[in-house]
């Protein structure tokens, strides 16, 4: 089985390196195909491993030593257990589809080859992230996906906004990574190892305060990668990247790494439920917070990005409350329908010649039926309508919140569900139905190539049926992570489900009803709360005004005023003083013999005077 493991891990790397050879060349179709095939191989291996783990239990290999210094030993070790194999399967599955999709999507891009190289590199990093058997290994993948995200967001580097967004994403992640590093150091100095097994074995023995600190630090890391408040701004901006990238990285896989981390470190977090609750609270907040921003946004991809953010919040609620398998389950289903949604959006974009404003679309159903259907399916799944995948996972999360007695959280999530349903269908309505606004701009949309649509079908299918794997999934995953039992009376449970479904449906209904009739009036846009939402609560502005600009100003100040005018100037002034004193001392050397003699005599007389004073004193 080790061969499967290594194949699953390294075939994306091989793909990336192979394609990288042609990176600078013009488009070569075979690079896309080879890359897709190799990712597919990885996917197949992952599925084999899934079966294998299901049958024989986890697989653990140590490839080689990496860092050894002092007492520290970090190997390259990989573990394929119930959690990681689920992640592997999800990642490789979505990746494969995205790769195939990209062959079509990136068809006309001159950096076609480079794109596949980056994309495969991302898959490799992600695999390392999920497969590593220690925290530092995870950190490698963690940073690796960050790098690939940077490369891919900034893929169209000639666009200022793209490279800006790429840098923003990288730096935001770095801030969180620092927290994570701190957590790692703390783990090391208390446990002496980074291996999951050792850490989890030692965790119960550690003082609670330390576990709490570790938990907080690790979660800070997760916050960055999963774009939780207040580090969330990068995710929306990251939509500057090509749409397949958004689908793969910023919806399905990378952003869920934070959730994965919390699930992975579940044994730590289960020791500190209050921290978990804090995580859950933040998650619930983000769920509503992000959904509210999605309500008013007009950018096709940003709406979906905010929805991703909101869904990540749901996952954190589950993970924070200790329902790890539910979090993981939502992670998986979300990966399917959200990537579908993005890829569909990609088709729309292509059709609209990269126009993203949904206000300028409308009535596309006529020209791109397949996409419209797929996106509607994904939206329904997102809204959590039975029997679509989203229903099963999301509903469970609400139940968990209710079960924990965290009614506040439940309420937030409940509202969030309603908002989700509304904005999803606002998007669908504005894009595919209603007035054909795009005609005004002289665009004649057409659907994507057939193979692209076919590639999306598996995702569409999964978005519909994935929910039904829930019992199997629970049984499988809870072999590793702690089980979670819901103790709500059945009646209440059904009531809750009904309520949730109800609010989702009413959200959909409201959206359909409203946008059938031309949407809201313009006057709404002048309302304070509309502007607040459309400006993303002014948070990006806040960051710009109170962090970035001051930092720039301060940096310039430090350089020009402190470094140049104080530190360097002090050094120079010392040198200049010495030099100037030389100029002064030079005056002694007047060249006049009389002066010379006087110096000699006066010098001696002064000494004599001192001598007399001194000897009088003695």
């Amino acid at each position: 089985m080790e061969n499967y493991l290594y194949t699953a891990l390294f075939s994306p790397l091989v793909s990336s390196l192979f394609v990288a050879v042609f990176a600078a060349r013009p488009k070569m179709l075979f690079t896309g195909i080879v890359a897709s095939l190799l990712i597919a191989v990885s996917m197949i291996c992952s599925f084999v491993l899934l079966v294998d783990v299901n049958t024989y239990g986890p697989l653990h290999v140590t490839m080689m030593d990496w860092i050894t210094a002092g007492n520290l030993e970090i190997p390259f070790g990989f573990v394929v257990d119930e959690v990681s194999v689920i992640m592997m399967v999800t990642v490789t599955l979505v990746s494969t589809i995205v790769h195939i999709y990209s062959i079509g999507y990136m068809d006309h891009d001159k950096s076609f080859n480079r794109f596949f190289s980056y994309l495969s590199a991302f898959v490799f990093s992600m695999m390392i992230l999920v497969m590593s058997d220690n925290f530092v290994g995870l950190f490698i993948g963690w940073e690796g996906v960050g790098l690939c995200s940077w490369l891919l967001i900034g893929f169209w580097y000639h666009k200022h906004s793209a490279s800006w967004a790429a840098n923003e994403a990288f730096i935001m992640n770095r801030i969180a990574d620092l927290g994570m590093l701190m957590g790692l150091f703390l783990i090391y100095w208390n446990v002496g190892s980074f291996q999951y097994d050792d850490v989890f074995a030692a965790a119960p023995e550690l003082p609670v305060s330390i576990v709490v600190t570790i938990g907080i630090f690790l979660f800070i890391g997760a916050m960055g990668k999963s774009a939780q408040f207040p580090l969330h701004t990068w995710l929306a901006d990251a939509m500057e990247g090509p749409t397949p990238v958004s689908a793969l990285i910023h919806a399905a896989t990378m952003v869920t790494a934070g959730v994965y981390l919390v699930i992975r470190a579940g044994e730590l977090y289960s020791l500190i439920p209050h921290v978990g609750f804090a995580i859950a609270s933040l998650g619930a907040f983000v769920a509503v917070f992000a959904a509210s921003m999605a309500l008013v946004n007009n950018d096709l991809k940003r709406i979906i990005a905010y929805s991703t953010l909101s869904q990540l919040g749901y996952m954190f609620v589950a993970a924070g409350l200790g329902a790890y398998w539910i979090a993981l389950f939502h992670l998986m289903t979300h990966a399917f329908f959200k990537s579908l949604l993005f890829l569909g959006a990609g088709n729309v974009m292509h059709a609209m010649h990269d126009e993203l404003n949904i206000k300028k679309m409308g009535g596309l159903y006529g020209s791109m039926k397949a996409t419209a259907i797929l996106m509607s399916v994904a939206s329904v799944a997102l809204a959590g309508i039975y029997p679509f995948a989203g229903f099963f996972s999301k509903d469970k999360i609400l139940e968990v919140a209710f079960n924990e007695g965290a009614y506040g959280l439940w309420l937030a999530l409940f509202i969030g569900a309603g908002l989700t349903a509304f904005y999803s269908f606002r998007l669908v309505m504005l894009v595919f139905f209603g007035e054909k606004e795009h005609v005004k701009y002289g665009i004649h949309p057409h659907d994507a190539q057939p193979f692209v649509i076919y590639a999306l079908l598996p995702l569409g299918l999964l978005a519909i049926i994935a929910g039904f794997f829930e019992p199997m999934f629970e049984a499988f995953v809870t072999r590793l992570v702690s089980e979670y039992h819901i103790h709500i009376p059945h009646a209440t449970e059904y009531l809750l489900i009904a309520a949730t479904l109800g609010i989702a449906l009413s959200g959909i209904g409201f959206a359909v009803y409203k946008y059938k009739r031309g949407g809201f009036s313009k006057s709404l846009e002048d309302k304070a709360c509309y502007r607040l939402l459309s400006n993303q609560y002014y948070i990006p502005k806040l960051y710009e005004c109170y962090i970035m600009r001051p930092f720039t100003v301060l940096s310039k100040f430090v350089w020009q005023k402190i470094d140049m005018k104080v530190v360097d100037f002090t050094v120079d002034i010392i040198a200049k003083c010495i030099y100037a004193s030389g100029q002064e001392a030079r005056k002694i050397q007047s060249g006049n013999l009389s002066d010379m003699l006087r110096w000699m005599i006066v010098g001696m007389l002064v000494l004599l005077a001192f001598a007399i004073v001194y000897s009088a004193m003695m």
């Binding site: 006066v602 007389l605 004599l608 005077a609």
Partner: protein, 184 residues
């Protein structure tokens, strides 16, 4: 008693003479005063029973040295008044008073020791010249010889420096420089 009178007389005269040397604007006066001062100083030597030095003082200083200066002065044509541009007279006098006080304070301190054994004691009833001769040609033979060399050096120096050779101020080097000049 007569020693006291002599001392104060000579002292007053020497100080007066030397003050003239230092203050006079006329080089001739200064030189004459210097010569006078030297002679008066020899008076001290006689007072102090150092007859040999007294003689030497008169012969060497008043004779040789002053004659040299006199020749020098003729050569330099310094009979006219010299103008000494003192930047500030006050400072000069202050310095004088100060230095005089310092010197006097130091030298009036009880410097001498009562327990010192003379290295070359002056023997009673032996003439000063005799004694000096004895010490000079035993203990101080080497310095004496070296002094001879010094005088020789001074003589050579005087001859060389004042000789015609030095007037050909263009030296050989300069004559040969022509070709270098052309090449530039």
């Amino acid at each position: 008693m007569y020693e006291v009178i002599a001392f104060y007389l000579f002292a007053a005269l020497t100080i007066a003479m030397f003050t003239i040397v230092v203050m006079s604007k006329n080089a001739l006066y200064a030189m004459s005063a210097l010569a006078g001062g030297m002679i008066f100083i020899s008076g001290f030597f006689f007072l102090l029973d150092a007859e040999f030095l007294g003689v030497v003082q008169i012969v060497v200083y008043s004779g040789a040295i002053m004659a040299l200066y006199a020749f020098g002065m003729m050569f330099f044509d310094t009979t006219r008044d010299v103008s000494e541009k003192m930047r500030s007279k006050k400072i000069a006098y202050t310095l004088f008073v100060l230095s005089a006080i310092l010197m006097v304070v130091i030298l009036s301190a009880p410097l001498v020791s009562s327990s010192v054994q003379a290295n070359f004691p002056i023997v009673e009833h032996v003439g000063n010249v005799q004694m000096i001769g004895l010490v000079l040609f035993t203990k101080y033979l080497i310095p004496f010889e070296l002094a001879a060399i010094m005088l020789l050096v001074a003589m050579i120096a005087g001859i060389v420096l004042a000789s015609k050779k030095m007037d050909e101020h263009l030296n050989i080097e300069d004559e040969e420089i022509g070709n270098v000049k052309e090449s530039r």
